[in-house]
């Protein structure tokens, strides 16, 4: 799985991403589920041992292609463009080779009349290439090409490629055509489309490499199979010494590689190969006239072929770099993220069996009846064990007296189930008023209501039962009135299980309304 990305893969990756966004019904959750499934499957099959962004993308693409294929064998935009690019590159390669051979053959058409002018060879085959390379190097193209728009030459190559790709996609189904077309357009137009420059750049370098190889091959062939003579001529006042210095400088790159006699012509050989038309060539010696060919061949190799090979390599490197950058787009990171993040759900099962249709506790509590006692009665107060302290009892007694209850006895309740049961047994003999205290700020529970229910059943008819609801105690107020909603809730709950129970006002009785 550590292969480099093919251009086809990159285009298809973008294509499938677009396809996901096109399918409106696919929510982020759907995509997450699908992509996570890909990942889990890969892990199960042992196909994904190491986890990296690229590995995930590659695996995702493989699955997406498999899903998309469904036996129809459609051309994806990637394969379409890749095929065209491959064919175009091959064409340029052949064209370069043919042009190199053709140019070589026409230059080396030596008739024996005049030696081949090395200046012409240099001007036609070396100098333009050097200038072109210089242009590439001087312009910070290699670094900035990825950020800029297409250079004109590459644009000229890209336009027919795009047209051809679109024509081929048109032959497939409509989605492939629409989305694929967009994916292709992004390569040509969008900021991320720099990626296409490098395959095109490589194709142009292939052309140049083929051209130089063709030319070098013809040069060698001609040298080997025919009698060539090279000379130089000029109208300007340039001496052999100046030319020798120039030649020496030009030969510097390969001078360490070969003997000096092969690296460049000597001063004598340069002097001996100067063509002066009025003197003819018959006085020139053959060794001087043939001394130029190794130099010219080396020029072709070092100033023509080698830079092209370097640029071709640079094209590969830049393509890799721009591909890395291309894959750093957020849409691609989203894929890895979806694959690598577990699907988590903590949603509850559907709710059922909730109590409904209850009267709201938010309703205004009715004002407790003002109990104006006709006469004071003795009362037994049943008080939760948690409130059984002297302070609270004293407060309660004080509070109940104006209500007509003189507390003569108090008993703790809710200490234990057994104690409550025994207490209930005793209640049958009670003939005084019974006041039960509840902490209304606590939720009413079945146990308390059941106790009250049983108590009401056991009490004699003449014994009245009253409820005293108390609110949440404060640090300095052990006995306060309940909140309205607490009061209402308790009242409703008690009414549901017992009848004929009077609710006693609390010290802040108005507090039931306005606590």
């Amino acid at each position: 799985m550590n292969k480099t990305w093919r251009f086809e893969d990159i285009v298809d990756l973008d294509y499938f991403c677009r396809l996901d966004r096109l399918e409106k019904q696919s929510t982020e959750m759907d995509l997450h589920q699908r992509d996570r499934h890909f990942f889990l499957e890969a892990r199960k099959l042992g196909e994904l041992r190491t986890i990296s962004h690229h590995q995930c993308l590659r695996f995702w693409l493989q699955h997406r292609r498999r899903f998309a294929d469904d036996g129809a064998q459609h051309h994806t935009p990637g394969s379409t463009l890749d095929n065209l690019l491959w064919a175009g590159s091959l064409l340029l390669l052949l064209l370069g080779g043919v042009l190199g051979i053709g140019a070589g053959l026409s230059y080396f058409a030596y008739t024996g009349q005049t030696p081949l002018n090395v200046f012409i060879f240099f001007t036609i085959f070396i100098l333009p290439q050097l200038l072109f390379i210089l242009l590439i190097v001087l312009r910070p193209v290699l670094l900035r090409l990825a950020n800029n728009d297409f250079p004109p030459l590459l644009r000229a190559l890209a336009a027919p490629l795009k047209k051809a790709a679109e024509r081929r996609l048109r032959a497939t189904d409509s989605t492939v055509e629409t989305v694929g077309g967009k994916a292709l357009t992004s390569l040509f137009v969008e900021k991320t489309g720099n990626l296409l420059k490098w395959p095109l750049f490589k194709a142009t370098q292939l052309f140049a490499v083929a051209f130089n190889i063709g030319l070098a091959a013809v040069t060698l062939f001609k040298i080997a199979t025919s009698d060539l003579a090279f000379g130089w001529q000029t109208t300007l006042d340039i001496g052999a010494g100046s030319l020798h210095s120039l030649v020496q400088t030009l030969a510097f790159p390969w001078s360490w590689l070969v003997a000096e006699s092969l690296s460049h012509p000597t001063l004598q050989q340069i002097e001996g190969s100067r063509i002066i038309l009025k003197e003819g060539i018959y006085h020139l010696t053959t060794t001087d006239l043939t001394s130029w060919w190794p130099f010219l061949l080396f020029c072709l190799l070092f100033y023509g072929l080698l830079p092209r090979l370097i640029l071709l390599l640079a094209g590969f490197i830049m393509y890799r770099r721009s591909m890395e950058r291309y894959l750093r787009q957020r849409k691609f990171y989203a894929i890895s993220r979806r694959m690598l993040t577990p699907l988590v759900s903590t949603q509850a099962e559907p709710e059922e069996n909730r109590r409904d249709n209850r009267p709201s506790t938010a309703e205004t509590p009715e004002k407790p009846a003002d109990s104006q006692p006709i006469s004071v009665r003795e009362a037994l107060i049943l008080i939760p064990v948690d409130l059984c302290d002297d302070n609270t009892l004293a407060s309660l007694k004080e509070y109940l007296m104006p209500q007509g209850f003189r507390v003569s006895e108090s008993k703790a309740i809710f200490r234990s189930y057994e104690e409550d049961r025994s207490l209930l047994e005793e209640m049958t003999d009670v003939d005084k008023a019974v006041v039960v205290v509840f902490e209304a700020w606590m939720a009413p529970i079945r146990e308390q209501l059941s106790f009250l229910e049983k108590l009401a059943c056991r009490l004699r008819q003449e014994a009245s039962l009253g409820i005293c609801l108390v609110g949440r105690p404060g640090p300095d107020r052990p006995f306060v009135s309940p909140q309205p909603q607490e009061y209402l809730l308790w009242r409703r709950k008690i009414d549901e299980c017992c009848t004929g129970i009077s609710f006693l006002t609390t010290p802040d009785s108005a507090g039931a309304k306005e606590p």
């Binding site: 982020e28 996570r36 889990l40 986890i51 962004h53 950020n147 800029n148 900021k191 991320t192 720099n194 950058r325 750093r328 787009q329 957020r330 989203a334 890895s336 993220r337 690598l340 993040t341 577990p342 699907l343 988590v344 759900s345 903590t346 949603q347 509850a348 099962e349 709710e351 059922e352 069996n353 909730r354 109590r355 209850r358 506790t361 939760p384 064990v385 948690d386 809710f414 200490r415 234990s416 189930y417 057994e418 409550d420 902490e439 700020w441 606590m442 939720a443 009413p444 529970i445 079945r446 146990e447 059941s450 949440r472 105690p473 909603q485 809730l489």
Partner: protein, 472 residues
């Protein structure tokens, strides 16, 4: 067997709230009315389509002292109190809720006992704790201080130490991501056999949170791109007055920005699972203010010196200088579109507005007006601050919380961009300038920006730092 945790407790102690917050499920109905839950409700934790653990909400205890009495009897006669109690009373109408709450324990569930630490301890609570102790199940107590007061916590904790393997304070109304993770981590201490599976759950929850933060950073980045590159044009007939057209264009522009911001906020809400209940911002939040309101520009964004660090202030100062050099003529032409525009000047005085309306060209048939893209260096920092503030609000809003009207303190210093170090501000400033220039090489800057925002989101939510590109 799938580890299960039953949430038990007295009615109205916030069991459902705890569960709602812990599982980030805001569909749980939480009512002030006690005894709403009458049947057990399961919250399965499903990871990659596999149930890993489950939480079960139960009805509150209805007869704790009776249960205790009965179970003690079973215990004294060497019977399993839990099994025997259920077997004997599961058809008893009085005890049906109590039997229902014991059902998960019969399946082997661990106990999470929830109590309200802001109220005093009562006899019934002690009975409940003793009942749970008699079941012999792994158990932990959670102190959920409903009113935020912790005055009774020591009483509770003292009892918890007697009855439970461990205890934790967990406020269902305030707990954030960090506290949820801590609670899950704490569950490991109650039963050794569940440690491995809980480790997996915690790791997955952390991954999930990181994924959410990543998506949020993407959303913020998209919002900034959209806001900074937004431009609108309008053609006006030469004979008509330009002022109404400018006002209308400005109105459309600000409405579009507000729409983009709302979309981003909505997506953020979805990511953080605030689905059912309409999350509302605290009433005093600066986010209630319009994007271009005076208050927004006073309290959010960077100071002048910080803006200078980002490298964006030079242009702004220059723009202000040019306006001054124009002797007000340019203002008359471009900026006199009502009071709303005046608000833009909060940072650089009334002359430096958030986005100017330009007259692009006066043709024979129409005059073309254009607003945006916004080049004010402060503007993206304001948008970013608002997004971070919103993130802070929704991640600290517990799912079990329903008191929307209660005030919530607005976190400000650690969230906003002005608290970031100089290097981070430079990075953000660079990214904003790339966006404002509509630069082609924005991918690298965006990448760095998102990592920085991710870090900031992790800081805000208390999530752990991760290495860049380290997915697992």
């Amino acid at each position: 067997m799938i580890p299960e945790f039953a949430i038990l407790g007295h009615p109205n102690e916030g069991k459902s709230s705890v569960l709602s917050t812990l599982t980030e499920d805001d569909s749980v109905r939480i009512s002030a009315e006690p005894g709403e839950t009458i049947k057990c409700r399961t919250f399965p934790v499903i990871i990659d389509n596999r149930e890993i653990i489950r939480f079960t909400d139960t009805p509150g205890f209805q007869n704790p002292t009776r249960m205790l009495s009965e179970m003690q009897k079973f215990s004294e006669s060497s019977e399993d109190p839990l099994q025997s109690f259920y077997r004997r009373y599961h058809n008893d109408d009085d005890l049906r809720h109590d039997c229902e709450l014991l059902r998960p324990l019969l399946r082997g569930a661990g106990i999470l006992y929830v109590a309200d630490g802001s109220r005093p301890l009562r006899q019934v609570d002690l009975a409940e704790m003793e009942v749970l102790r008699l079941t012999g199940k792994p158990r932990m107590a959670i102190l959920n201080c409903k009113r935020g007061e912790e005055e009774f916590s020591p009483q509770w904790k003292a009892q918890f130490r007697k009855h439970f393997n461990s205890s934790r304070v967990f406020n269902a109304h305030r707990a954030d991501y960090r506290q949820r993770i801590r609670l899950l981590e704490a569950l490991k201490s109650i039963e050794q056999d569940w440690q491995e599976v809980l480790d997996y759950v915690v790791t997955t929850f952390k991954d999930d949170w990181r994924n959410r933060n990543y998506r949020t950073s993407e959303l913020i980045s998209e919002l900034l791109t959209d806001c900074l590159q937004l431009k609108m044009e309008k053609n006006v007939a030469p004979e008509t007055s330009l002022e109404p057209a400018k006002k209308e264009l400005f109105h459309r522009y600000t409405a579009k920005l507000a729409h983009l911001e709302n979309l981003c906020h909505r997506e953020m809400r979805k990511i953080f699972k605030h689905n059912v209940f309409d999350y509302r911002l605290p009433s005093h939040s600066i986010l209630h203010q319009d994007l271009f309101a005076d208050e927004t520009w006073q309290f959010l964004g960077l100071s002048r010196s910080q803006l200078a660090i980002t490298g964006g202030a030079g242009g702004a100062a220059l723009a202000a200088g040019l306006d001054l050099a124009a002797g007000g003529a340019s203002l008359g032409l471009f900026t006199s579109i009502g009071g709303a525009l005046g608000a833009f000047g909060a940072v650089y005085g009334s002359r430096n507005i958030a986005s100017k309306i330009k007259v692009l060209g006066i043709g024979t048939a129409t005059i073309k007006l254009q607003i945006g893209p916004n080049t004010n260096p402060q503007f993206p920092f304001i948008v970013l601050d608002r997004a971070l503030l919103y993130y802070s609000h929704i991640t600290t809003w517990a799912h079990g919380r329903r008191d929307y009207d209660a005030s919530l303190s607005e976190k400000s210093p650690p969230v906003l961009t002005r608290s970031l170090p100089r290097t981070s501000l430079k990075t953000i400033g660079h990214y904003f300038r790339m966006l404002q220039k509509n630069g082609s090489d924005v991918a690298d800057a965006e990448d760095t920006f998102k990592k920085l925002i991710m870090r900031q989101l992790n800081v805000v939510s208390g999530a752990e730092e991760y290495e860049d590109n380290d997915f697992h």
